[in-house]
């Protein structure tokens, strides 16, 4: 099961320990990343660099591997990294567990947030924050600071306090789930936020609120990777770079004009170009 699977993973990793350990200190640097699940290759050589203060958008048709890329960066061991490296601030993170990556500032807003019955949003956040603090050798956050933080961030995202006492994602509407993801992001203040289709399921008001939450986080020290199908979100969170992922590879990169072009013309021309 889970444990056995992890054992296998570790042996695999051991074999390739002669790899590079350091790289230039871009916030995120991905080199020739290949990943597969159940023996099936999904990512087929991704190269991507994201610098501090930048916003990147990753677009691409369904099934092209966007969520897989996000999961692999976050360390999901369902996916096996068969080649390539991921560096975070110059450090190779292949040996880091998902929680260690989180402690280093990686945040993933899930395309499909997971339900945890009986665990309230507040309790979950309290645990997450204190675990990250523990990893940094800090004491638990005092209750009154925690309360203040929750108040501040829930106001930012226009989240009702009652909502915070509900079981995590259980019975949440699609929009509520996504807003809750961004709330968590705001609480955890990550260095690198990856937002996987955070716009889907949001109405226009919610979209504005979520975008506002993301924009608040943006600073010269942080980076945001926005995965989306639509150009809509990009009107609110303006990307510095746009990449098109198709069939496990980044087939085109450009600026925000590329997003507009995709919106207009669809993905077919990209597919054709890629086929050539």
């Amino acid at each position: 099961m889970l444990g056995v699977f992890r054992l296998i993973k570790i042996t695999l990793k051991k074999e390739k320990n002669n790899k590079e350990h350091k790289s230039s200190d871009k916030m995120l640097k991905i080199k020739d990343l290949h990943a597969s699940v159940e023996g099936k290759g999904i990512l087929k050589g991704i190269n991507l660099e994201v610098g501090a203060g930048e916003v990147h958008a990753i677009m691409g048709p369904n099934g092209s591997g966007k969520s897989t890329l996000a999961s692999v960066i976050a360390g999901n061991e369902t996916y096996e990294v068969t080649a390539g490296d991921i560096f975070l601030n110059g450090e190779n993170i292949e040996d880091l567990s998902p929680e260690e990556r989180a402690h280093n500032g990686v945040f993933l807003s899930f395309q499909y947030p997971v339900e945890i019955p009986g665990v309230s949003v507040t309790n979950f956040m309290k645990t997450a924050i204190n675990e990250s603090r523990k990893a940094k050798g800090l004491e638990d956050m005092p209750a009154k600071d925690m309360l203040k933080l929750i108040r501040e961030k829930s106001e930012l995202l226009e989240i009702d306090r009652k909502f915070l006492s509900r079981s995590l994602n259980e019975g949440f509407s699609g929009g509520e789930k996504k807003r809750n993801e961004i709330f968590q992001m705001a609480m955890l203040e990550p260095k690198l936020a990856i937002l996987d289709e955070t716009d889907s399921g949001l109405d226009i008001d919610a979209l504005r609120i979520v975008a506002n939450g993301v924009n608040k986080l943006k600073s010269k020290d942080n980076a945001v990777v926005v995965i989306t199908h639509y150009q809509r979100l990009l009107e609110y969170i303006v990307p510095d770079f746009v990449h098109v992922l198709y069939n496990g590879k980044i087939v085109k990169s450009g600026t925000k004009e590329l997003a507009m072009e995709l919106e207009e013309k669809g993905y077919d021309w990209i597919k054709q170009e890629a086929a050539v």
Binding site: I10, S97, E100, A102, F110, P117, V119, T127, E131
Partner: protein, 481 residues
């Protein structure tokens, strides 16, 4: 570093039973073995009136003819009743107990248990009656309670001081002939708690008894009797621990609750007797009979958090005799390593408009077996009876088992019974989601288990909910699947 199953296992193995220490107190222990003479000797030692002695002897004679039950879904080496000592009193126990008089070694022991009386005193709202092995050693808050007319004392004292009450109610809910262990308990019980709440009185604090098996080779047979007179209210909590020992120790308690018209009793149990070591050696056999009688408009709630014992056999029940009476059962049972638990409830609907709720959460890990066994019975006269039952099991790892045996017997057409049960495991997606938020796998499991158990944890008195939550974490540490 990723967290492998191997690592987790190792970690579990290094976690010894937190309360596994042995306090060296001089104690006054009977020779091993059971006979009518021993029964009489226990009674004599306690200076009991004749009616009590006769009651014990009668129970002993019934027990002698009974056979140990086989039907529970547990397997264990039957205790040898002739190899147990039936009386063990810390020698320095003093009848005129004041805190200052308590053996410092005992106090030290309570401290290790995290229930030092000093601390308890500060815990304003809790009155504690502590039973170590077989004799109740210290009771706090007696005076505050006395002002309200509430009687809360060791049952041995109650037999001396309030014989009429004890005699009137003892054995009326659980007769001596009820079952093998109840009969045994009736014959040899050494102490326990007695509680009487007078008519119309709301007990202003949580009453609490702490049981602990200390002496090697002793069985603990405590007897608890709670009588809530008309329109009264009481919340009662019992907690149990035993030091770790190799041989299995026997614990066969009887708890009787009587809720008269319009009365309410909340009875909560946190049980973490020594569960045995990781090879399944040692641990406590916990064979308990708990039953409540509900008169008109009365309400009884049983809440239990069971994390300990090698073998548990326990079905806190409600006899809903009075019209409009209510029975509730909220249970979390956690088993790990080689533990076996067979627990559940019986809701016997006799009166009209009676209602019962059963929420049972079973969590099995390691090589353990966890069974829910319940009975909902609606008699033909019990018009408009309602029952809702929910039994959920969570399995962790692939060497444990979860079993559900809900019996439902209905003889009245106006009954409404709903029963639901589910079995599931912790999802890998759930764990990854937590990991991604910086929560490691072990903590993630604790969080998910707590969420799973929340409905029940919420029913515990505040002071103990946090403790129970910790206990769940301790019992499941390192048992990822």
């Amino acid at each position: 570093m990723a967290y492998t199953e191997e690592e987790l296992k190792k970690e579990l193995e290094t976690k010894e039973y937190e309360y596994g220490f042995y306090t060296d107190i001089e104690s006054d222990t009977f020779p091993i073995g059971l006979s009518e003479d021993i029964v009489r000797a226990i009674s004599k030692k306690k200076n009991e009136p004749k009616w009590m002695t006769d009651w014990r002897v009668e129970a002993y004679r019934v027990w002698e003819k009974m056979e140990e039950p086989e039907w529970a879904n547990v397997h264990y080496q039957k205790p040898d009743f002739q190899a147990i000592s039936y009386y063990s009193a810390p020698k320095k126990a003093d009848p005129n107990k004041k805190l200052e008089d308590v053996d410092p070694e005992l106090l030290e022991m309570y401290k290790k248990l995290g229930i030092s009386i000093d601390e308890q005193k500060k815990l304003q709202n809790v009155a504690v009656d502590i039973v170590v092995d077989s004799v109740s050693v210290a009771t706090t808050f007696k005076k505050t309670l006395a002002e309200k007319g509430i009687i809360f004392m060791p049952i041995s004292e109650a037999i001396q001081e309030h014989p009429e009450l004890v005699r009137k109610y003892m054995g009326t809910v659980v007769p001596t002939t009820d079952n093998f262990y109840a009969a045994l308990n009736s014959a040899v019980f050494t102490d326990g708690s007695f509680c009487y709440i007078p008519k119309g009185v709301r007990c202003p604090m949580e009453l609490s008894t702490y049981f602990r098996i200390n002496q090697a080779g002793t069985g603990q047979f405590e007897r608890t009797l709670v009588v809530a007179d008309e329109e009264s209210y009481v919340s009662y909590l019992e907690g149990c621990t035993a030091p770790s020992r190799d041989e299995n120790q026997l614990h066969a308690a009887v708890v009787e609750l009587i809720a008269m018209d319009d009365a309410e009793i909340k009875y909560s149990t946190v049980q973490n007797w020594f569960p045995g070591n990781k090879e399944g050696k040692g641990g406590v056999y916990n064979f308990v009979t708990k039953r409540a009688l509900c008169e008109k408009n009365a309400k009884v709630s049983w809440t239990q958090v069971e994390t300990g014992s090698a073998v548990t056999w326990k079905y806190p029940s409600c006899i809903l005799k009075g019209d409009n009476s209510i029975g509730e059962f909220y249970s979390i049972a956690v088993t790990n390593n080689y533990q076996q638990a067979d627990t559940g409830t019986k809701m016997i609907h006799l009166g009209k408009n009676t209602r019962s709720t059963i929420i049972s959460k079973g969590i099995s890990a390691g090589k353990s077996q966890n069974s829910y066994r319940g009975l909902v019975q609606v008699s033909s006269r019990a018009d408009n009876a309602r029952n809702f039952s929910q039994c959920d099991s969570l399995l962790m790892g692939n060497e444990c088992g979860a079993h559900t045996f809900p019996y439902i017997e209905v003889k009245n057409k106006s009954a409404m019974i709903e029963h639901e049960a589910t079995t599931s495991k912790i999802g890998e997606e759930q764990i990854f989601y937590c990991n991604q938020r910086g929560i490691d796998t072990e903590k993630a499991i604790a969080l998910i288990v707590n969420g799973f158990s929340k409905e029940v944890l919420n029913k515990l008195p505040m002071e103990f909910a946090v403790e129970a939550q910790k206990l769940l974490e301790i019992s499941l540490e390192g048992s990822v699947g």
